[in-house]
């Protein structure tokens, strides 16, 4: 295929430098792609997507009847991260996770961070993800956020920034594992020679974390994955993770509270459950404590959690730390708990709750991206530079009406990765982000890889699957100077 025609453009390109030379670690990949006939690439692309369909790696599209399951569009060209870059990211993610965990624990206990003036009380207590019902909760090992997905982006200056934390039920890790399998089949030679670090350890690491937080005195903990059910958009991930860990996948009606414990209904009567990897939102967990209208929850489970007789991962209430406004305070939070400067920078953020910052935001709406604090999936957002005057005026009203709920950031020039278009014979740059997965057990483990989401629409910065996003494999290369667990 014609690689020479590829135009890296004005953004940071993950594969080529501005002189169109492959970046370190990308030479072999670029050469192989250049040598492949167009028809061959198209064939491999189709084979890859068919493999995903057969494996049933699909997400549910709400509101459709026939053909309700779709595969997440998958692009063959991987995103490559050098070993050196990864080491820095890894350190930053470990630091951030450790600090956020301490922050959550503090928020639901003594609230020293508030008393010491690091973050205003009203910011914390007005976060919709702050759950007063979790006050004085003591999760096993004092770990709250066991599984995190941190969204990173690389700006035109070549630096990575944290875009947001996902401390409740981050999804997408199954795509990381499946994309990898497909890529190994599609480009076996490049793959092997590029020394890509394996991602296969994720399910065992996850199980280790879940077993680590089991209630005291349980020798062989019974771990389950709790899913809202087959109609949830991430269901295939829930069942995949349960399958890979070799544990039961349960829905709420499989569980029952008795004698102060959680049990599951089996063909031989009730069996005790010790650890629940819950993939339902925390406010749906217990209708007696949180949302009374929840049909997905287990009434009374919070009492069992409080009594330390079952562990939830993630613990309820962790969302307070991934609130989009709290985000602006994370560098100070890291400094406060760890006495260290944040390794990973955040995007400069204006908090509209603050009067001076709000004035600045309102005066510069055409230059900023405004986000509602309690929305996700790319909803509730204003892309200032691209919006019409009317849209900006409407958002200005929203901000004035509810300043606590909004933050604003400069528009980042998300980096791009070459992406196959049409029948797979055209290569164009498309914007990407990166979600690495972090597990907090006895130690903090960062999966060497992650979900690279790609905005398939030309010029679009929105990578969410609900809005035309796809995914790519992420190749973290083994360090140049040491064969750190080279690819298998």
């Amino acid at each position: 295929m014609d690689i020479a025609a590829y135009e890296p453009g004005p953004f940071y390109d993950e594969m080529f430098d501005p002189e169109r030379r492959p970046r370190p670690g990308c030479d072999l990949l670029a050469r192989t792609m250049a040598e492949l006939p167009d028809t061959d690439i198209a064939r491999r692309q189709q084979a890859a997507e068919r493999a995903l369909l057969h494996m049933g790696i699909t997400f549910n599209v709400y509101g459709h009847d026939h053909g309700t399951e779709k595969i997440l569009p998958f692009d063959l060209v991987p995103r490559v991260v050098s070993g050196k870059e990864w080491t820095a990211l890894e350190r930053g993610l470990v630091q951030r996770t450790r600090a956020l965990n301490l922050f959550i624990d503090d928020i639901y206990h003594k609230q020293r961070v508030i008393a010491d003036g690091i973050i205003p009380r009203e910011i914390v207590e007005t976060a919709s993800s702050y759950l007063p019902g979790c006050k004085d909760l003591d999760p096993p090992q004092r770990i709250w956020c066991h599984i995190n997905g941190t969204d990173l982006v690389r700006h035109s200056d070549g630096k990575y920034y944290v875009l947001e934390d996902n401390l409740r039920c981050p999804s997408g890790v199954s795509y990381v594992l499946h994309n990898r399998q497909v890529m190994k089949r599609t480009f076996p030679n490049v793959f092997q020679q590029s020394r890509v670090r394996p991602v296969d350890a994720y399910p065992s690491e996850l199980l280790r974390v879940l077993q680590h937080v089991c209630p005291r005195g349980v020798a062989t903990p019974n771990v389950v994955v709790l899913t809202p059910g087959p109609y949830n958009s991430a269901y295939s991930e829930h069942s995949f993770l349960a399958q890979q860990m070799g544990v039961e996948l349960v829905v709420a009606k499989d569980l029952v509270i008795r004698d102060g414990f959680v049990w599951m209904r089996t063909t031989r009567g009730l069996a005790r459950v010790d650890v629940i990897y819950r993939r339902i939102d925390d406010t749906f967990l217990d209708p007696k404590v949180f949302r009374p209208d929840s049909m997905l929850g287990i009434p009374g489970i919070m009492n069992v959690v409080r009594a330390g007789r079952v562990a939830l991962a993630n613990a309820p209430g962790t969302g307070v730390a991934d609130d989009k406004v709290v985000y602006a305070y994370v560098p100070a939070i890291i400094k406060y708990y760890l006495g260290e400067d944040a390794i990973l920078p955040i995007v400069p953020t204006f908090v509209c709750h603050d009067e001076k910052q709000r004035a600045h935001v309102l005066a510069n709406l055409d230059k900023l991206v405004v986000k509602a604090a309690n929305e996700s999936g790319g909803y509730g957002m204003l892309m200032g530079p691209q919006a019409s005057a009317a849209e900006r005026a409407a958002f200005a009203d929203h901000i004035k009406a509810n300043p606590r709920n909004y933050i604003a950031q400069p528009l980042l020039g998300l980096s791009r990765v070459p992406t196959l278009l049409g029948d797979g014979n055209v290569l164009e740059g498309r914007h990407v982000d990166l979600r690495p997965y972090v597990l907090h057990g006895r130690d903090i483990f960062v999966l060497p890889g992650g979900l690279t989401r790609v905005a398939l629409k030309k010029g679009s910065f929105v990578v969410n699957s609900s809005q035309g996003g796809g995914s790519k494999d992420t190749w973290v290369l083994a360090d140049e100077n040491g064969a750190k667990d080279a690819a298998c």
Binding site: H54, T220, G229, S236, E248, L249, D254, A271, R272
Partner: protein, 328 residues
Amino acid sequence: MLSRAADALYWMCRYAERAENVARFLDVSLQVMLDLPDPHGEPWAGVIAATGDDAGFYRRYGTATRDNVVRFLTVDHESPNSIVSCLRYARDNARTIREAISSETWEQINKWYLLVNDAAAGGASVADNPYDFLAAMKEASHLFVGVTYLTMTHGEGWHFGRIGRLLERADQTSRIVDAKQGLFLLRPPEVGASLDELHLSALLRSVSALEMYRKRYSRIDHALVMTFLVLDKLFPRSIRHCLDKAKESLCAIMDTPSGSTGTRPERLLGRLVAEYEYAVIEEILDQGIHEHLDGLQSKLNDVGAAIHEQFFATRPDPVQEPMAEAAQ
């Protein structure tokens, strides 16, 4: 294992088995029609009657023609017993228990479903040439059974699946035999006797039994064919064999010696197994094969209901006490 997972495994296998048998049933019907140069009455109406869903059929199709019947039984999403519906149910069940089955099992049921769904999207071609489609269905089903056998631990879950498959197969074999009896009556009386052997061969072929039958009994004879399909101990689609093996799986699940009679499913299935072990074909034929098979189908329903009640039913407030070994 989870009651819900056991339930889904059982039904996954039942529906997959049903899909295969619908293919077999339709295949034999198509062949018989070819052998009836001038059938009495409306032969395809008899086929529809045998499915037990006449009302649904006539409401939407009006008349029982070959193409309508083929469509109704293969690619019709609205018909609950069409192959595409069976596959959808089988896959829906598999999808709720992907963690309880091997990925190979899941992929096979998923591929099979996608194959049928594609065929349903281009519906006309199946009616034009049903034979290739029906052959593909049998092959996909055999692959499914093989993959389950070879990639899943033969533990509790697998046994629940096997019971589902075998109860379904026993039921379906009885329906194929019964429906074929009905089709015999359509033969023109003057050539009837000479067609008997042809029909019996077609019946045997429809359950892949012709060669195995010939090894056991050399000549084609009505009573012997009935003996083979209903009472043979070793042929995998004979009713008795299905019951024997289902009981074996039930014993494995209960982890009891084969003589145990502790629970209702064990009692009902045990009685049925004993009945077939000591049955002779003459008595069955005297009673009337249709009446006999009708009775069997209703007993199979009872067994299915008892299994549901014993293992799958989730009660709002469970009456079972936690078992010591489970509560470790």
